[in-house]
């Protein structure tokens, strides 16, 4: 008589038994019972629910996506400052915008100006959205500016793109730490945004088709 071992039974959890196998199972109820348990186990595995990621996971993903220049978002450096900073955050961002306007105009050639920015802003929400848009425009312009600049001038001191990216990561980290201490300081704001732009431009230059492997 042939013996049905457990691995054989485990295989039967996926398919109908042959006539010979059915015969064996009928003659050995203990094997049939084992098979039923294995089938139930397999069904239970298939019914396992999804799992919620740990808290803070999205924030970590978002930060990485931003640092790689893959997304733009309203929840950016300026708006992630403590809420009590209120209008000072907006003011600091406006300073940045004004500082970046010249660069933005030079790059895009578009008719940008402070008047366009403030028109229609009546609530804090309006202002926050305007800041997000302005900051994004400034960042986009600055990134493009850096890209054009670096294509014109060879970056010899940082010919190793990995080293350069690591150096920029350190600068961004330092800038973010500094901004936590002095959230309203326009120099630190400008330094951080400028570094983020350079980081993004560097990331775009170094992404090659094989990096899209998945």
């Amino acid at each position: 008589m042939e013996h049905m071992n457990l691995e054989w039974l485990a295989e039967l959890a996926d398919r109908e038994p042959t006539a010979e196998e059915r015969n064996l199972l009928e003659r050995h109820p203990e094997w049939a019972r084992e098979l039923e348990e294995l089938k139930e186990q397999t069904e239970a595995l298939g019914a396992l629910p999804s799992l919620r990621p740990p808290r803070g996971d999205w924030q970590a993903v978002e930060a990485r996506l931003m640092s790689e220049g893959l997304i733009r978002t309203r929840r950016n450096v300026m708006l992630s400052l403590p809420l009590s900073a209120g209008w000072t955050r907006v003011a600091a961002a406006l300073l940045l915008f004004v500082g970046g306007t010249a660069t933005g105009m030079a790059v895009s050639g578009g008719p940008m100006g402070a008047n366009d920015l403030t028109a229609g802003i009546e609530t804090l929400g309006d202002a926050e959205r305007a800041v997000a848009v302005s900051e994004q425009q400034y960042l986009n312009a600055l990134v493009r500016y850096r890209e054009l600049q670096s294509s014109a001038a060879d970056l010899r001191p940082f010919s190793d793109s990995g080293e350069r990216a690591a150096a920029l990561d350190m600068l961004v980290q330092a800038g973010q730490n500094a901004l936590q201490r002095a959230p309203d300081d326009p120099f630190i704001n400008l330094f951080l945004v400028s570094t983020l732009a350079e980081q993004r431009a560097t990331s775009r230059r170094t992404i090659s088709p094989r990096d899209n492997w998945f």
Binding site: E11, E40, L45, I207
Partner: protein
């Protein structure tokens, strides 16, 4: 297909603002298009929709909470980076799931120094206050974590995620025959592990996985 271009005209950003308001009413195709264009809110919406499924498969493959979080994040970065190449030939969820599985498997291969996980049986596996379903889920998750890597990967991909042996062979770089053999061994090992933790005082017919 290029990535989001730098120096978008201001008008494009104004359109973007309007879509924040109507985000809930957007179709998945619209969300994907906007996410592909670098719209953080659209990416967030995709994340909210699919993060539990991505995290679940990555967590089960990794069998480790900390590693799972790293692998899941890596999966999202890869997916968003590759989003402009998504043609819609497969469902987005299937495409994303495949990226997550690959991210986890690749990371595991790199983690050569990973020590063997020896996990004590958590007390919660016999907590009388848990519902039968919750208890069953915890026991299954615990038993999956105990399996050797190869067996665990195959049983998760086949029995939990529904991949075929051919697909598993392709993902793991083994033959479909090896995948089958590993699966049957894994099922038996799981059964043994679960038998060991089953409550001896449990009433007849109330086994953890009885339906």
């Amino acid at each position: 297909m290029g990535r989001r271009r730098a120096g978008n005209p201001p008008a494009e950003d104004r359109v973007q603002l309007a879509t924040y308001i109507t985000r809930d009413g957007m179709t998945e195709a619209q969300l994907i298009r906007q996410a592909s264009d670098g719209d953080g809110q659209a990416v967030r919406a995709l994340y909210e929709r699919y993060a539990p499924r991505v995290y679940a498969v990555v967590r089960r493959i990794a069998a480790d909470d900390d590693q799972a979080q790293d692998y899941a994040q890596e999966a999202w970065i890869r997916a968003i980076r590759a989003l402009p190449t998504f043609r819609g030939d497969a469902r987005f969820s299937t495409w994303l799931h495949r990226i997550a599985v690959n991210a986890a498997l690749q990371a595991l291969r790199k983690a050569e120094t990973r020590g063997k996980r020896e996990r004590p049986l958590p007390e919660s596996l016999s907590a009388p206050t848990l519902s039968k379903d919750a208890l069953l889920q915890r026991r299954l998750e615990w038993a999956l974590d105990q399996l050797p890597d190869g067996m665990r990967q195959v049983i998760i991909l086949h029995d939990v995620e529904g991949y075929t042996h051919e697909e598993i062979g392709e993902l793991l770089g083994v033959t479909s025959g090896t995948s089958k053999s590993q699966l049957f061994k894994a099922r038996v090992k799981m059964r043994d592990l679960l038998k060991d933790i089953r409550e001896p005082r449990m009433e007849p017919g109330a086994e953890a996985w009885s339906t």
